[in-house]
Amino acid sequence: MGRYIIKKLLISIPVMFGIMLTTFFLLNVIPGDPIALMMKDHISVDVVARVRAQMHLDDPVFIRFFRFLGGALHGDFGISYKLNRPVSYLLATAFPNTLALALSAALVSWIIGIPAGILSAVKRYSLVDNFFMGFSVLGVSMPVFWTGLLFQYIFSLKLHLLPVAGFKGPLYLIMPAIVLGWSSAGTIARLTRSSLLEVMRNDYIRTARAKGLREIAVVVRHALKNSMLPVVTVMALQVSGLLSGAVITESVFGIPGVGRIAVNAIQNRDMPLLQGSVVLTTFLVIIGNLTADIVYSWLDPRIRYGNPEGKK
């Protein structure tokens, strides 16, 4: 297992490097001057020229990239142009918020998606199936910002149940978590359903039935655990999707998270901050995948106790 993790991490290094390189160069081929942007209408050509020189922004792009890379290897991601704080500090403060949002959203998506998937698999083609699948897929079918807007409108402005935006406690997390979680619940439900249907076709389900187990025991004990295996993998892939969704959700609900930082960094050509975000999000996705692998193997003894001989 340990070797596996190390191997995965090793593979992720070129992946991360590739993403950093790509984003760095992409954002450098387009016109965009962080200093001019900071000064906006108050632009003064002399000032821009002077500050650019002082910040070494006029150096060739690859020199800047490797300078950044050198720092990054020592854990120094530099200082954000726009926010004037160390990138590591900004990400460290934003990360828990995004994590809280993503985890609670993931939780919501599981709470909606897994039971919906199970119910609609067990009652395939019934109204129950249609209802639960319909409900979970509904979430996937709406633009997140639009759902967010409607939620704010209904639950905050009309019903006065929840604050519109901001991030000052669990109460503030409810709407964004539901909006974001709902948007990926359909994926989970879908997968749970098809995976369960598939597992139910296996020989060992027939064995379980032939043992005289109750149907519920057959489904819960024998089918569910197996059918969760592919679901776990998708949960990990959710990380990337949730981060994408978080970009929007954080903006709509005013949550100071990594998604917003990344968007601002792109908009402001804030290279250090962008690169930091790239490293962090990529790392998160990789961690997510690793976690999935570990949970997967924890669930699946075929991997946990994989025979080194590689027999079938």
């Binding site: 992946v15 993403i19 992409l26 965009g32 079918s141 633009p143 249907l197 994408s244 975000s277 996705v285």
Partner: protein, 294 residues
Amino acid sequence: MSDLTLGPEVAQTLPEPVWKEIVAAFARNRLAVVGLGILLIVAFVALAAPLLAPYDPYKVKLGEQFLNPSWNHPIGTDMFGRDVFSRILYGTRISLLIGLVPTLISMTIGVILGLVSGYFGRRVDFLIMMLADMVLSFPSLLLAMIVMYTLGASLLNIFIALSAVGWAGTARVVRAQTLALKNKEFIEASRAIGTKDIAIMLKHILPNCLPQLLVLFTLNIPDSILSEASLSFLGIGAQPPAASWGLMVAGGREFLFNAPWVAIAPGIAILITVLAFNFLGDGLRDALDPYLKS
């Protein structure tokens, strides 16, 4: 291998798309049928938009902003006095285009890379999958954003950005399928005959990926439509005055209070279309289920 729902002895034939059976299985799924129906209507609307739309969707009338829904304007007018109904009808075209084109492009790329990666394996596989990992390891919206900034906002560039982001998923699926098929005996048989690799990929592997690709296709379209909406929210989606639903929602959200129809109507249009695609995809997946595995 055998379809156990039929009992081990009855299912004599390898599951094989028999269109009648697929259609029948599909028809059992009410949501899928509804989805298909809706999409047929949407497609019709897209084709017939000029005939159906009562107004020029781009005609600015500053005196007629935010008219309430009425007989003249079934869904009212927007901040420029344009008829929302007409814009939604025309929006069908753009939104379907945004759904279809990037999906087609990205899937073509994904299929080619996935085939090559899975079939040849080794270094090519390693490189392609590394590239796919790169794309998949970075939140797609941010990546699309960077591409949009790099290329500038335009419809064509949306296609490019969404394709650049979307191919990796398809590549992975096709690769997995190729790996599974590669050692099938009929592929071996073809190699034993001396068939060229390219012919094996095109004649044997690709056709056997089609059910998956079909499902993937229907489920990728709504993703594209929603991604464009998100990009529009960030201001880099379709460009005004285009009547893209995403843009209409993003632009209209400011007026949710005084003129809710401006944002809600296109939102519902997205919702219904995307939902229909999702239902269709789910239904197809269900109906094709026995044929999805190799």
